[in-house]
């Protein structure tokens, strides 16, 4: 045989590969737009897959258990009654959200993946921009059918934003949440603070912190900061403060840059961590948030900005991560004040941030009509209630909330008092980088940089994230 040097072979292989690889980068064909939306509408044998970042025995186990043990059998049964043989599989994952997102994106970009996809509300925009997701009415093909679903009426408009992008519905939101200031009533009593504490401004918060500071071994205030906690810093820290200055992170298509509002937020951070009101080390730990839970439960943190999840799952007396047997008497909660009364977004006195997931239909599904049916079914009052499995939790549906939250004053408080005030993050592709820039800015001020320097660094980072100066407001 003729001798072919292996290096030459490699080169051939490589050039063949480089031809192939241009095919890997975004194709211009943006999906199933030209596909027949009524495909397989009358199929008698249907297979659907539900994908979510939850798994039995692991992350968000309850969600996986409900889907596999209740939702799917019920749906199969209901379809059987209609003479359709449906098989529904649950494809559960249980890893970090970013990795899960990469996996979804890889599948969707290759026009594959589960038929129903559970996504975080803030991914909807970037997935839509990438053409991975289509408006529900496009995928199902029948706007009247989608928009006519009676479930929409039960989902407040602010919550519907979770599944929307550019004014179009891409998915049906799952439950939502709200953020409040928690405080330890026992410590408050020791510090001579009222049990029905409700600060009206940031100064009220720091004043309470000063009082708590006198107690030995107590961290007065915990407001998440730094890069180690990732999105927890943004959601349980910067953004609730930012809306308290009257600004939102993205308004009129522009990202918030180095503005007085941002500097106010950073100054507030500085006033807490620079004066010993907060524990700067906790902010830097990868597991800092879990630590803060444990410390709060151990009566070592006075005031903590957290979501309702903290009440439901962390200090919950029976199954919580950091159980507090006396939660109902010892843990107080208050609305997050704007920096001064009336200073919040839309002139509000009090503010909050919310988040949550949505379920979308994979545009490449073989069975768009049946997928929509499953999506409807999944979000019916009956299933949403069943999904709670007796637990009290804020769902997307007001009718269900009214029923299940009656027994829990805290969650009722969130559903009725916080949700009307709340804001959602923009579901744009640039958001994660902006969020990272915000976290970085807090890390900088806690680390000792001046507010101005940190804000300048933030401005640069946001400009890079947004792609141009024009897309950033600053003054």
């Amino acid at each position: 045989m003729r001798r072919i040097p292996p290096l030459f072979r490699l080169a051939v292989l490589g050039s063949a590969a480089s031809v192939l690889l241009t095919g890997c980068l975004g194709s211009s064909d943006s999906g199933s737009g030209d596909q027949d939306t009524s495909r397989n509408a009358d199929a008698k044998k249907v297979e659907l897959v539900i994908g979510a970042n939850s798994v039995k025995g692991g992350k968000n186990a309850a969600g996986a258990e409900f889907t596999e043990d209740v939702l799917i059998p019920k749906f199969v049964e209901a379809q059987k009654a209609k003479g359709v043989d449906v098989t529904v599989k649950f494809q559960g994952d249980g890893s970090d959200d970013e990795v899960y997102k990469q996996k979804l994106a890889l599948g969707l970009s290759n026009k594959t993946g589960p038929d129903l996809i559970n996504v975080d509300g803030i991914w909807v925009g970037e997935f839509a921009q990438a053409g991975y997701l289509k408006p529900l009415s496009d995928t199902v093909g029948d706007a009247a059918k989608v928009d006519g679903w009676d479930g929409w009426k039960q989902i407040p408009d602010s919550v519907q934003q979770l599944g929307m992008f550019d004014g179009k519905r891409y998915g049906v939101p799952g439950g939502t949440d709200g953020r409040v200031l928690y405080f330890n009533k026992k410590l408050f009593a020791q510090a001579g603070l009222p049990a029905d504490w409700q600060p009206k401004s940031w100064d009220d918060v720091t004043a309470a912190g000063q009082a708590l500071k006198k107690l030995p071994g107590v961290t007065p205030i915990q407001i998440n900061a730094g890069t180690a906690m990732g999105e927890a810093t943004t959601m349980q820290g910067i953004l609730p403060l930012l809306v308290g200055t009257g600004a939102t992170i993205n308004a009129d298509g522009k990202w918030l840059g180095n503005t007085p509002q941002l500097r106010q937020v950073l100054d507030f951070y500085k006033s807490i961590y620079g004066t010993g009101l907060g524990d700067p080390v906790l902010q830097r730990e990868a597991k800092g948030r879990d630590k803060s839970f444990a410390q709060f439960a151990a009566n070592k943190i006075g005031i903590l900005l957290e979501g309702d999840y903290f009440w439901r799952s962390v200090v919950e007396p029976k199954a919580g991560v950091a159980k507090m047997a006396d939660r109902d008497t010892a843990v107080g909660y208050a609305l997050i004040p704007a920096n001064r009364p009336g200073g919040g977004v839309k002139g509000q006195d009090f503010v909050s941030m919310s988040g949550g997931g949505a379920t979308a239909i994979n545009p490449n599904t073989k069975f768009p009509q049946q997928a929509w049916e499953l999506l409807e079914f999944m979000n019916s009052a009956e299933m949403v209630k069943a999904g709670l499995n007796g637990a009290a939790k804020i769902t997307q549906r007001t009718d269900v909330n009214a029923e299940v939250l009656a027994g829990d004053p805290m969650l009722n408080f969130v559903a009725t008092k916080v949700l009307p005030l709340t804001q959602y993050r923009p579901g744009l592709a640039e958001y994660p980088r902006v969020s990272a820039a915000l976290q970085q800015a807090t890390a900088d001020v806690i680390g000792g940089k001046s507010t101005d320097a940190a804000a300048k660094g933030y401005q640069t980072a946001v400009e890079a994230a947004a792609g141009s100066k024009d897309k950033v407001t600053s003054n």
């Binding site: 045989m1 001798r3 072919i4 292996p6 072979r9 490699l10 292989l13 490589g14 590969a17 480089s18 192939l20 690889l21 241009t22 890997c24 980068l25 975004g26 194709s27 211009s28 943006s30 970013e98 990795v99 997102k101 990469q102 994106a105 890889l106 970009s109 991914w123 925009g125 970037e126 997935f127 921009q129 990438a130 053409g131 991975y132 730094g226 890069t227 180690a228 990732g230 080390v281 902010q283 830097r284 730990e285 990868a286 597991k287 630590k291 744009l428 592709a429 640039e430 994660p432 980088r433 990272a436 970085q440 890390a443 900088d444 680390g447």
Partner: protein, 312 residues
């Protein structure tokens, strides 16, 4: 009883000048054709799962490709702007510096010296002692990295961590206050086994007579190492240092311990690449940095080759 095979006279091959084609040149009579065949499966897999992705990475390094968002559908070629960005990126500089520290501290100094010291002392230690120590060192090397990460998080834990219990320094957040020191310790622990094994086999090649004559002339331990042992194992030292340096520079396990934190203080280049790609979603930029790391690897390997040549 079989008779030996008959020798068959072979007619001379016409038209073949000077070099007569004899039996295959290699020891097993493999021949180049079959040798290439032996290589083929490995090269195919390497080509498909390493070379091809690597080329792809180089290509998207000049685009603004992302996994989601507009750039996922229509990425555009941005030329070298990812590279110019890297040159001005303070976080990338920081990552490079930390990687350098990490390699210097844990590989070139930590694993190398500890590995050699173990190989040297264990030569004459009692078999029971040697087996125990070697087993522990190797265990640290073979445990799955996910498990090892938990071990060290537990070891360094601020509240109940083993280190704090030993030192009586409850409340010291080692991973926060001294992240790089922790990573260097961790990686030394993790990787010393390789150096130890490599040096153990290298030391067997040092003639005992030379060691004895060094002792006869009254050379100190250090002089013996410098004058007798080191010249013998110089090649091994170079090879070992190169391998562990490359592996350490590209090691992702720091992420499992500190995720690059606090505030980028332990964000080595591989961790930075991961964070840029996943948290930031910027596959284009992360690919450009990957390529820069590859170039750095190449330079180190070339330096090594030069050193090795100088030896011979």
């Amino acid at each position: 009883m079989a008779t030996p095979p008959e020798s068959v006279p072979v007619p001379p091959v016409p038209g073949r000048p000077a070099r007569v084609r004899g039996p295959a040149q290699d020891v097993a009579g493999l021949g180049i054709g079959r040798a290439v065949g032996f290589l083929a499966p490995a090269l195919l897999l390497i080509g498909a799962f390493l070379v091809f992705p690597a080329i792809w990475t180089i290509y998207i390094g000049i685009t603004n490709y992302r996994l989601t968002g507009v750039e996922a559908v229509s990425p555009s070629i941005v030329g070298l702007s990812n590279y110019t960005r890297a040159l001005n990126d303070a976080l990338f500089h920081n990552a490079l510096w930390l990687t350098l520290l990490f390699v210097l501290g844990s590989a070139i100094i930590g694993q190398n010296i500890l590995g050699f010291a173990l190989a040297w002392t264990m030569r004459r230690a009692r078999p029971a002692v040697r087996r125990t120590v070697e087993a522990l060192v190797l265990l640290a090397w073979i445990l799955p990295s996910t498990v090892v990460a938990y071990l060290w998080i537990a070891f360094f834990d601020r509240d109940t961590g083993t280190l704090n219990s030993i030192l009586g320094t409850q409340g010291t957040a080692w991973l926060i206050d001294y992240p790089m020191v922790c990573l260097v310790l961790f990686n030394t622990w993790r990787g010393t086994a390789f150096s130890m094994m490599l040096y153990s086999s290298a030391l067997q090649a040092v003639p005992p007579s030379q060691l004895e004559s060094a002792r006869m002339v009254g050379a100190s331990g250090w002089q013996t190492l410098r004058d007798i042992v080191f010249p013998h194992i110089r090649g091994h030292v170079l090879t070992n240092t190169l391998l562990i340096s490359l592996w350490t520079a590209n090691d992702f396990s720091p992420f499992l311990l500190t995720k690059g934190g606090p505030n980028h203080e332990s964000e080595t280049v591989p961790v930075y690449i991961y964070n840029v790609a996943l948290q930031g979603g910027e596959l284009g930029y992360s690919s450009a940095i990957s390529f820069l790391l590859l170039i750095a690897n190449l330079l180190v390997a070339l330096l090594y080759l030069r050193l090795l040549r100088r030896r011979s």
